[in-house]
């Protein structure tokens, strides 16, 4: 028999453990809705979203800011009952199939037509919309006008011209292009497919099972082995430092970098989409948008949906403030992006045009991690190891086909 004292010491031990477990940093009362954001880098965003949440009068909202590996943290929290009621993310077919997300079609109301169609598509799985887009991010090619003039090079409009420009701009200790420390295989793999008129997945079929895909990926190898790429920069492609420090004449980065580049270089720069491979292909820019989503395990789905509707449908002033006052994003609603004065001139205006004409989903819902790993591995082996593009692309296509078969039968 366990004595009372012994029981007490055991209880003490478990209380100790419980104390360790309960400090999740969530805080707040049980009454509040829990809303999660990843940590935006721009100062002021956290205060802004907290201010928006506070103005929702129907129920208190606890905003949690999540620095670090947000995707993994979110995915793990969605498995348990302890996850947020409302969170930002992009929908994946796997979480939809696992019943983790609440369809939000009824939240949109009349405003649905106001959202840019290509952005809404990235939040649509099997015909239902699972996220209300908050802010559009996009990637594009930045080039230094003065260096182009000095070298007598025109802004490239085909992939071959891009490779040629990169080679010719490599001189005096300056490299032609920086497209990530992995040699471009990461961020340019999608644009390379699109440049040839192909895609990751199309109508539940492999979108790149085509000899032209090998040719397009082969161009990335040509670029890599030309010796004109900057490799191993201190900051990776998402930061414009290599470009603003004059280490390269072109860099692949994103719209968010425009203010920093403007500050460093004035108007000595221009932006371009990733060029087309041939006449059949198309220039492209990868776009993605975090959307507000509702956890299917939430005990207060209706209130959560109401919060999402309030923040991102009703309060258009919040969407405008969120997109344009801190970092540099494009509001997903046309009525806002069209009248935003910040987006009517210079590189930003070009970016808005690219999103309208050349947008491609950087992370479509049906591009699962198995497919991504298979494809990225193949591209990396072609680009960095010089493996045969034909063989590698075919092998990746096979793997993607198996995964699609599993998903759609």
């Amino acid at each position: 028999m366990i004595s009372r004292r012994r029981l007490l010491s055991l209880a003490g031990a478990s209380a100790l453990l419980a104390a360790c477990g309960s400090n999740t940093g969530r805080g707040g009362s049980d009454q509040a809705l829990k809303q999660w954001y990843h940590a935006y880098g721009e100062p002021g965003v956290q205060q802004a979203v907290e201010r928006y949440a506070k103005s929702f009068t129907k129920t208190p909202v606890d905003v949690q800011w999540n620095p670090g590996d947000y995707d993994s943290k979110l995915a793990t929290s969605l498995l348990s009952d302890g996850g947020p009621d409302v969170f930002e993310s992009t929908p994946q077919i796997s979480s939809v199939r696992a019943g983790q997300l609440v369809p939000l079609d009824d939240v949109f109301g009349d405003a649905r037509g106001d959202f840019t169609e290509s952005i809404l598509a990235t939040h649509t799985v099997d015909g239902k919309v699972y996220g209300v887009p908050q802010a559009v991010d996009m990637q594009m090619l930045f080039y230094r006008k003065s260096l182009f003039e000095k070298a007598g090079v025109q802004p490239p409009s085909t992939v071959d011209e891009l490779i040629d420009a990169s080679k010719r701009l490599t001189r005096d200790g300056v490299k032609g292009l920086f497209a990530g420390n992995d040699g471009g295989g990461g961020v340019l793999a999608g644009p390379a497919l699109w440049s040839a008129g192909l895609d990751y997945v199309r109508d539940h079929q492999v979108g790149f099972d085509d000899p032209v895909a090998a040719q397009a990926i082969g161009k990335l190898r040509e670029l890599y082995s030309s010796g004109s790429l900057l490799l191993g920069a201190v900051k990776d492609w998402a930061e414009p430092d290599a470009f603003t420090q004059g280490l390269v004449a072109m860099q692949w980065t994103g719209l968010w970098a425009v203010p920093a580049v403007q500050k460093a270089l004035g108007d000595d720069f221009g932006v371009l989409p990733f060029p087309k491979l041939s006449a059949d292909g198309r220039a492209s820019v990868p776009v993605g948008a975090f959307g507000a989503m509702v956890n299917a395990k939430s005990k207060r789905i209706d209130e959560a949906k109401e919060l999402v509707r309030f923040l991102w449908i009703e309060r258009t002033d919040y969407q405008e403030d969120f997109n344009l006052s801190y970092g540099f994003h494009i509001p997903p609603r046309k009525s806002i992006s069209e009248k935003a004065s910040k987006l009517t001139t210079g590189a930003a205006a070009d970016a808005v045009k690219f999103v309208r004409d050349n947008a491609k989903a950087s992370n479509p819902p049906d591009w699962t991690s198995v497919m991504r790993t298979a494809f990225n591995d193949a591209v990396s082996r072609v680009v960095r190891d010089g493996a045969s593009a034909d063989t590698e692309v075919k092998a990746a296509a096979g793997k993607v086909r198996d995964e699609l078969k599993r998903l759609y039968g």
Partner: protein, 292 residues
């Protein structure tokens, strides 16, 4: 009774922690490995050994096991020999012994993540003003993209020097402890019998006396080689994922089980069990060979 209470007071919290945070998860993942567990940890679709069959025919997983077996063959003896050599040197010197012992041990206290970032961002970055490239520049060589280039695979130089720097000190201390337990009279007897200082005493006294320490060090090194994660993830990983080369099995399993765009705990767990069995097997085999 008093004793019993003290026992539970001291052992209880630790045992409970071990149970809750180690044994239950191990048991759970064993369970998951027999289920189709996508985006759930309470799966319902039993698939028997299918996850195991999938993992054992999964080319990237097998390749990562292969790569790291090779890595172990290379890194284990290298660390072993260097740690032993350093320990012998530190043990020999008669002044500032504590200083040298601390200096070599200090890197062990450094975080893997911090060290990885120092190696990646300041010593071995690819731009012309990186430390390694500055040194190369003195000899007129072109900057090298250390962590990017795959031919030649310079990233191994980065990873191996990093691992050696972080780990050597720990094994050095183990060897030092072993050396200091060797009775001095054995050496004295050998000298009287005419053994030369140096190779003969090392071969016939020091090394045999270090046998138990050596076995422990080898086992720890081997396990550490297969469990590589931190420095690889931080040096070679990017926001676009991890490249297909030098990919430790644990990193591959991490992306399988927890990657964004689909969590697959079934295959991830099956892979983890396979890896555990492999480590156990190799360890047993090594123990058998050495202690024979």
């Amino acid at each position: 009774m008093r004793n019993g209470r003290a026992f539970w007071l001291f052992v209880g919290p630790f045992a409970a922690g071990l149970l809750v945070f180690v044994y239950v998860p191990i048991g759970w993942s064993l369970l998951l490995s027999f289920f189709d567990a996508r985006n759930t940890v309470t799966p319902s679709e039993f698939v028997g050994l299918r996850n195991y069959a999938d993992m054992l025919t999964d080319a990237p997983f097998l390749r990562s096991l292969g790569t790291f077996s090779l890595f172990a063959v290379f890194i284990v003896p290298l660390t072993f020999v260097l740690a032993l050599a350093l320990a012998l040197l530190v043990n020999q010197i008669s002044f500032m012994k504590a200083f040298f012992r601390s200096v070599f041990f200090l890197p062990t206290a450094c975080s893997y993540v911090v060290a990885s970032l120092v190696w990646k961002l300041s010593i071995f970055n690819g731009v012309r003003f990186g430390l390694a490239n500055t040194v190369l520049g003195w000899f007129g060589a072109e900057p090298v993209a250390w962590t990017v280039s795959t031919s030649p695979p310079w990233y191994w130089l980065v990873l191996v020097t990093l691992r050696l720097w972080l780990q050597l000190g720990f094994y050095l201390i183990l060897f030092l402890a072993g050396l200091q337990r060797i009775p001095q009279h054995l050496y004295e007897a050998a000298w009287i019998d005419g053994a030369s200082r140096g190779w003969q005493t090392l071969r016939y006294i020091t090394l045999p006396q270090l046998r138990t320490t050596s076995v422990a060090v080898l086992l720890l090194l081997l396990i550490a080689a297969y469990q590589a994660f931190d420095e690889f993830y931080n040096v070679l990983g990017t926001d676009r994922g991890y490249p297909p080369f030098a990919r430790p099995p644990l990193i591959y399993l991490y992306y399988t089980a927890l990657g964004s765009g689909g969590q697959d705990f079934g295959h991830g767990s099956a892979g983890a069990v396979i890896l555990t069995l492999l480590i156990a097997g190799v360890t047993l085999l090594q123990g058998r060979v050495i202690t024979r």
